[in-house]
């Protein structure tokens, strides 16, 4: 009795499986990928119609890097804002956000989900170098655009094996060049101590800086690194203080930026010129340290800081704050990551407008042929340009100095392409 029951069950299960395989296989979905006709014949139109465009983004909404997850809110607010005004060229944007917890395997899974299940037109933003590096082979093989990744590593613009991937923010090497130029001009004999995060971000910036000051009177005399998992950088700051350097290059992320600024302020015996990198330059980082303790700190930027009162009357900033208030009421408008999301989304808007064909190929080509494109959230004088052999949209930054309760821009925007030539590895 039991034997036959078991056999029957097995047979039934096998039959069911075979039926399922034959009839309703989910693998067949690849057939839904579409191509265009007419002038753009043969190009992929998956995820885009005359009325809609579907984009997918992968951000760390959980885990150790969740602080950056809020970028997705800025992006989503921008698209909602645009959709209410009729969409991008008549197309409503659908923006699908997935969480990778800052783990590369999770990023791969989510990228595949977005491409294969959600059928997105493009993967608009993967965040962080590890996650981006983990998925870019896949996306390029699938010929899915991966525009404006949220990482400043210089890898995204160099090399030609990944034509579908492109960065956006000034890469860390470019930023390093801005500081190098400033020091060579203002303090040609500077001895520099560097505090850097021990990952691609810190290493790229430090390496770029060393290369840019090579042969000049500016010397790096001390370097200390920290891990993101470290509780504090106070020990590193004490070590750097021993070097007696007259400049401190502070390559940190927000929390550690606050710690380093506070440690510098507390140490009354060592008063170097403190250069804090862009990632940690938000007013939200400086405020906890106390504005009186960060006077004279230098940094560089390329987009408007929402916490900075000087942009209070700026129309783009107003639109941003209104939209964020409306579409993401729980997000803090003063958080620069939200503004970053807004800026990068409006940059993509420009690129989508510039597409010759409304296809994946069209977007791939459009982001690689930007000519001095202005974006409202970017600083005046900072524009996006790409071209053959140049896959870094933003390479211009402007220096600023903290005075009173806000940053004051000084000097002219520094176009590192002109100053140093193309960024090469």
């Amino acid at each position: 009795m039991r034997k036959t029951t078991a056999l029957r069950a097995a047979a039934a299960a096998t039959a069911a499986l075979l039926t399922a395989t034959a009839c309703s296989s989910q693998r067949g979905q690849d057939a839904q990928d579409t191509t265009a006709g007419g002038a753009c014949k043969g190009q992929q139109t998956t995820g885009i119609t005359d009325k809609t465009i579907k984009l997918g983004g992968i951000y760390p909404l959980s885990g150790p890097a969740s602080a950056y997850g809020t970028i997705s809110k800025g992006v989503a607010a921008y698209f909602s804002h645009v959709n209410d005004k009729g969409g991008i060229d008549g197309r409503k944007v659908e923006f699908v956000v997935r969480d990778d917890g800052y783990q590369p395997p999770k990023a791969v899974e989510e990228a595949r989900r977005l491409v294969e299940q959600e059928k997105v037109f493009a993967v608009f933003q993967t965040l962080g170098t590890p996650s981006t590096a983990a998925v870019w082979d896949y996306l390029n093989k699938q010929k899915v655009p991966q525009p404006f990744v949220a990482t400043g590593a210089s890898a995204w613009g160099t090399g030609d094996q990944h034509p579908w991937t492109i960065g956006w923010q000034p890469n860390y090497v470019a930023e390093a060049r801005v500081y190098a130029k400033y020091l060579k001009d203002a303090r040609p004999k500077a001895k520099v101590a560097v505090l850097y995060q021990n990952d691609d971000f810190g290493k790229d910036l430090l390496g770029g800086f060393k290369k840019a000051v090579a042969g000049s009177g500016v010397k790096v005399v001390a370097e200390e690194s920290y891990e993101v998992t470290d509780p504090s950088v106070s020990a590193q700051m004490a070590s750097l203080a021993r070097s007696k350097a007259d400049v401190l290059l502070d390559v940190t992320t927000p929390k550690f930026g606050s710690q380093a600024l506070a440690a510098d302020a507390k140490n009354t015996k060592w008063n170097p010129l403190h250069i804090v990198n862009n990632v940690a330059s938000s007013a939200a980082v400086l405020k906890p340290v106390g504005f009186k303790n960060v006077q004279g700190v230098v940094s560089a930027t390329y987009f408007k800081d929402p916490a900075d009162p000087q942009w209070a009357a700026d129309p783009e900033m107003k639109a941003y704050k209104d939209a964020l208030h409306k579409y993401a009421p729980d997000a803090d408008p003063a958080n620069q990551f939200n503004a970053y999301g807004w800026a990068v989304a409006s940059s993509l808007h420009q690129a989508l407008d510039a597409m010759k064909c409304p296809t994946r190929e069209g977007l791939r080509d459009a982001v690689r042929s930007l000519k001095d494109v202005k974006v409202g959230m970017l600083l005046p004088g900072v524009t996006m340009s790409t071209g053959h052999g140049d896959a870094f949209p933003l390479e211009t930054m402007q220096l600023m100095r903290f005075k009173g309760e806000r940053w004051q821009l000084f000097g002219k925007p520094v176009d590192t392409r002109k100053e140093f030539g193309p960024a090469a590895k």
């Binding site: 602080a67 021990n198 470290d230 509780p231 020990a235 929390k255 140490n267 015996k269 906890p288």
Partner: protein
């Protein structure tokens, strides 16, 4: 500055970090002593308490009022947590309880991010700015303050356990809960008390370190690892061991990070590992832990 002053300055920095580790290690040791488990969520609970304090101060309450209020809230919260989250898995394999605290860790961390976002918050510093300068070696008041408060907390815990009847009851429960029941002790209530106390000590830790580390949801994540190291080194059931272990780990990693170039700041996290391993191979119960005193 002479080499000696340099060295002493680094030692002071190490003591500063060490005091931070010690403060959280105290709470870890408390829980372990009374419930036999390692609470992975201890740091996150401390962070949550700190946010409570921050919220109170931000809503206009004076710091010195917000502080006792926070400690009271943490005490009650800790007791409640034991009752709601830990009691249901009591009697399950111990690893199950540990994993529940891991779940709690993830939950509390995300919850804080949801409520207060991941932006760095400024937390009021109870100690004055500036510091002490002894022949070229500078020690901030805040560092001294943290060490002082940690020492006081340790002393209070010692008094509580060794010289009060409630402390005696708590030790009895830690030692043999079944016999404690037979003597009429309400064990469940004492365990809640243990969690409440640990949460309070954790809150003290969070409030102390927040002005130095800056308050954000991941503030205690890094500290937790070092607090584990401190507690392991000191012996997981000795409050004195937790403090000494914390200070030792802090000084050791700072000095090797600064002076041993091969190790450097990036690999200094390996230093506590080596020390702990060495200590445990000689004394498996840690520096201050008790070897089991039992005769058949």
């Amino acid at each position: 500055m002479s080499a000696v002053t340099d060295l002493l300055q680094q030692v002071v920095e190490g003591l500063g970090s060490g005091a931070v580790y010690a403060s959280l290690a105290l709470a870890l040791v408390l829980i372990h002593r009374f419930t036999g488990i390692v609470n992975f969520a201890q740091g996150e609970l401390a962070m949550l308490s700190t946010y409570v304090a921050w919220q109170l101060v931000a809503s206009g309450m004076p710091y010195w009022l917000a502080l006792p209020a926070t400690l009271a809230v943490s005490f009650a919260g800790g007791m409640l947590l034991e009752r709601i989250v830990i009691r249901p898995v009591q009697g399950a394999p111990e690893l199950t309880v540990v994993i529940v605290t891991v779940g709690l860790f993830i939950f509390v961390n995300a919850l804080a991010g949801l409520i207060w976002s991941f932006t760095v918050k400024d937390f009021p510093q109870p100690f004055p700015d500036g510091g002490l300068d002894v022949s070229g070696v500078r020690m901030d008041w805040s560092t001294l303050g943290i060490i002082g408060v940690v020492a006081v907390v340790m002393g209070l815990l010692y008094l509580l356990f060794q010289h009060t009847s409630i402390g005696l009851v708590m030790r009895a429960v830690a030692c043999n809960p079944a016999s404690a029941r037979l003597s009429g002790i309400r064990v469940g209530w004492v365990l809640m008390l243990g969690w409440g106390l640990a949460a309070t000590v954790g809150a003290v830790s969070g409030v102390l370190v927040a002005p130095v580390l800056f308050l954000e949801p991941n503030m205690m994540g890094g500290v937790l690892i070092y607090a584990f190291a401190a507690a392991t080194l000191g012996g997981f059931d000795s409050p004195v061991g937790a403090v000494v272990g914390g200070l030792f780990v802090g000084v050791a990693e700072t000095l090797t990070g600064a002076y041993v170039d091969v190790i450097g700041a990036d690999l200094k996290v390996g230093v506590p590992l080596v020390i702990i391993l060495a200590v445990l191979l000689v004394r498996p119960q840690g520096l201050f832990g008790r070897a089991a005193v039992e005769r058949a």
